[in-house]
């Protein structure tokens, strides 16, 4: 389990290492064809800032070689905002007084139909809060069953599950799981996740092993930038990625860098802010570190930044996302989990990508591959 590995890596020492990386370390990393985590630290360090143009060129080159001039498109659907957790930064926080919704099977199907009218989406991401009683594994399995006639590839972003629960969902057509560790800083994790199941750091951390053991084909990782020193957090994620790649070598991995904006959701203020320039540097560094990992940008990012980064390392994008349950059809005006910065319609995102010489790919999986 990765918790055994993480215990061997000191947060403080890693932070110290990153900030003492030198110009020579950066140049060494840039001259390699395969980078290790030490090189990654150099590339995200302040010492690499003068090399951002070189990094962008390398990132573009590797992305083109591996992914071509394409962008894989997906759409999220929030099934419920009901949640028993109390993450201090989240709009669906258990003690927020708000109307809670759990979509019924009929409502779910209406959402699927409404999504298909927006664009030829085939990659669907189903999102829930953590409410194992009212919206647990059976509920998610039902939503997957209902999705099959409409979508080719089904992913979920839900609470961490047991191995047998992931395996059960795979039997219902699940292709991938996205889970954000939020932060790898175990000491402070509880400050942000004080109560509920999510307060158990290790259960969440080892969830990725359980996904691998259950044979989930695709695993998405992420840290929420805004909680702890982002450079240290993404370095821990890089270690985690390498560990998973070696242990569960048949699984495809993706990384996300969701960042909090000041005053997002009114209450919680981010502890750290990452600038556009730094997020670009991080994206390039990740691509130079790993030529094959999917890098995903959501509609949290604004249109101009997303479009520019689309050529330089990003390989997966959502479009026209609603971050409230039933937002496409049933409850078009309900409360969002986070505010979307790219409010363009999917067809507008498609047109913008095409104009830049990037082909949006809606379908890149076939259900016949899941036949057992």
């Amino acid at each position: 389990m990765f918790s055994d590995e993480l215990r061997k890596i000191s947060w403080e020492e890693t932070t110290g290492k990153i900030y003492s990386k030198t110009d020579a370390d950066v140049r060494r990393a840039l001259s390699k064809t395969k980078c290790d985590v030490e090189d990654f630290m150099a590339l995200i360090s302040p010492a690499a800032e003068p090399y951002i143009e070189t990094m962008a060129r390398l990132s573009r080159k590797y992305t083109l070689g591996r992914f071509g001039k394409t962008m894989s498109m997906f759409v999220p659907l929030y099934l419920t905002n009901s949640c028993t957790n109390s993450c201090v930064y989240c709009g669906f926080h258990v003690s927020n007084k708000m109307k809670r919704t759990i979509l019924t099977p009929d409502e779910i199907v209406n959402e699927y139909k409404a999504i298909k009218k927006l664009a030829p989406f085939e990659n669907l991401l189903l999102v829930t809060g953590e409410n194992p009683v009212a919206a647990g594994v059976d509920y998610i399995a039902k939503a997957l069953d209902l999705a099959k006639p409409y979508f080719s590839n089904l992913k979920i972003e839900v609470m961490p599950l047991k191995v047998e629960e992931y395996a059960e969902l795979v039997r219902h057509g699940l292709n991938g799981v996205i889970c954000f560790q939020e932060t790898y800083n175990e000491k402070n994790y509880k400050l942000y996740h004080p109560r509920g199941m999510k307060s158990n750091f290790e259960w969440r951390l080892n969830g990725f092993d359980r996904m691998g053991q259950a044979g989930v084909h695709s695993i998405g990782m992420g840290v929420l930038i805004g909680l702890e020193e982002w450079r240290t957090d993404v370095t821990m994620m890089a270690y985690h990625l390498r560990y998973l790649q070696k242990t569960y070598w048949k699984t495809k991995y993706s990384v996300n860098f969701p960042r909090m904006r000041p005053a997002e959701n009114g209450g919680f203020q981010p502890n750290v802010i990452i600038s556009d320039r730094e997020l670009a540097q991080l994206t390039f560094a990740m691509r130079i570190f790993d030529h094959d990992v999917d890098i995903s940008y959501s509609t949290r990012e604004n249109p101009e930044f997303r479009d520019n980064m689309a050529r330089l390392g990003v390989t997966t994008m959502s479009a026209e996302s609603k971050t409230d349950p039933g937002g496409y059809y049933t409850y078009p005006q309900s409360l969002e989990q986070f505010h979307v910065s790219d409010e363009r319609k999917a067809v507008e995102v498609e047109a913008a990508l095409k104009k830049m010489g990037i082909e949006p790919v809606w379908k890149d999986w076939d259900q016949s591959f899941d036949h057992k």
Binding site: G65, F67, T70, K250, G357, W365, D366, S368, F369, K372
Partner: protein
């Protein structure tokens, strides 16, 4: 130029094209036409199998082109056999590029599963073109299992690194009774020419054309590279200089009067 024959069908071009990674279906179609290819492979995962008007497919279908569905995405023989049957139904062809790569990073073929699936699919009447390791013994085993060709890799997919497996491809060509098509890793027309000079039957190219600044011109360049290499092979390459480097100052055969 001698015509290439696979499973009884003649091909005027020895360049096969892949269809991923292009910036639009229109450019892909132009590149296909400019390349002169008569064999084009398409990932079934990219095609809406229920939709006869699928946009990508529309741009690939031409009367002179043999459509070669591929199973990219499957991870074992069982999945491949099922996917192949779906492909046969949807595309109306027995031709199949068998790709089984359980490793999603380097997309390297699983030799064991590929051999198993080839055996099974050949028995079911498929014309199987398996993507495989540049492993001479495996290639003989695939031939015995009923493969129509073997498609050993030059380098990992998408790397454009050329014939990194040259020594093994040489042996595969020497031993094969079926066409040898070098697939994956070919990054420049000179790489393709080199493979053809060695006696490869054809090359399959995708990334190098799709990600070029001008894919249509690059397709033409590959057409020329393939033709030049094949013509040189058929014409009989001259004596290679490497074996005739400077005579040693103290000859080894001085004792032979």
């Amino acid at each position: 130029m001698e015509k290439l024959v696979i499973a009884g069908r003649e091909f005027n071009s020895r360049l096969f094209l892949g269809t991923g990674k292009f910036d639009s279906n229109e450019i892909m179609e132009q590149a296909i036409l400019a390349s002169g290819t008569e064999m084009v492979t398409v990932a079934m995962k990219r095609i809406d199998l229920d939709n006869r008007e699928d946009d990508m497919l529309k741009h690939i279908k031409h009367p002179h082109i043999q459509l070669l569905p591929n199973t990219s995405g499957v991870r074992d023989a069982k999945e491949a056999v099922f996917a192949a049957q779906m492909a046969r139904e949807a595309f109306g062809t027995n031709w199949l590029k068998l790709e089984i790569h359980p490793d999603p990073r380097y997309l390297l073929p699983d030799s064991i599963e590929t051999l198993k699936a080839t055996e099974e699919l050949a028995k079911m009447g498929f014309i199987v073109l398996p993507y495989c390791q540049a492993d001479p013994v495996l290639c003989k085993r695939l031939e015995e299992a009923g493969a129509a060709t073997v498609m050993p890799l030059g380098a990992p997919i998408g790397t454009n690194r050329g014939l990194q497996t040259k020594e093994f491809i040489r042996i595969i060509i020497e031993q094969a009774n079926i066409p040898v098509i070098v697939d994956a890793g070919i990054g420049a027309p000179s790489h393709a020419a080199e493979a053809m000079e060695m006696g490869a039957s054809a090359c399959l190219v995708n990334t190098a054309i799709a990600i070029a600044d001008n894919p249509v011109e690059m397709a033409k360049a590959f057409k020329s590279g393939i033709e030049a290499g094949r013509m040189a092979y058929e014409a009989g390459l001259g004596v290679q200089a490497a074996n005739f480097e400077a005579e040693a100052s103290s000859p080894l055969t001085k004792f032979l009067v």
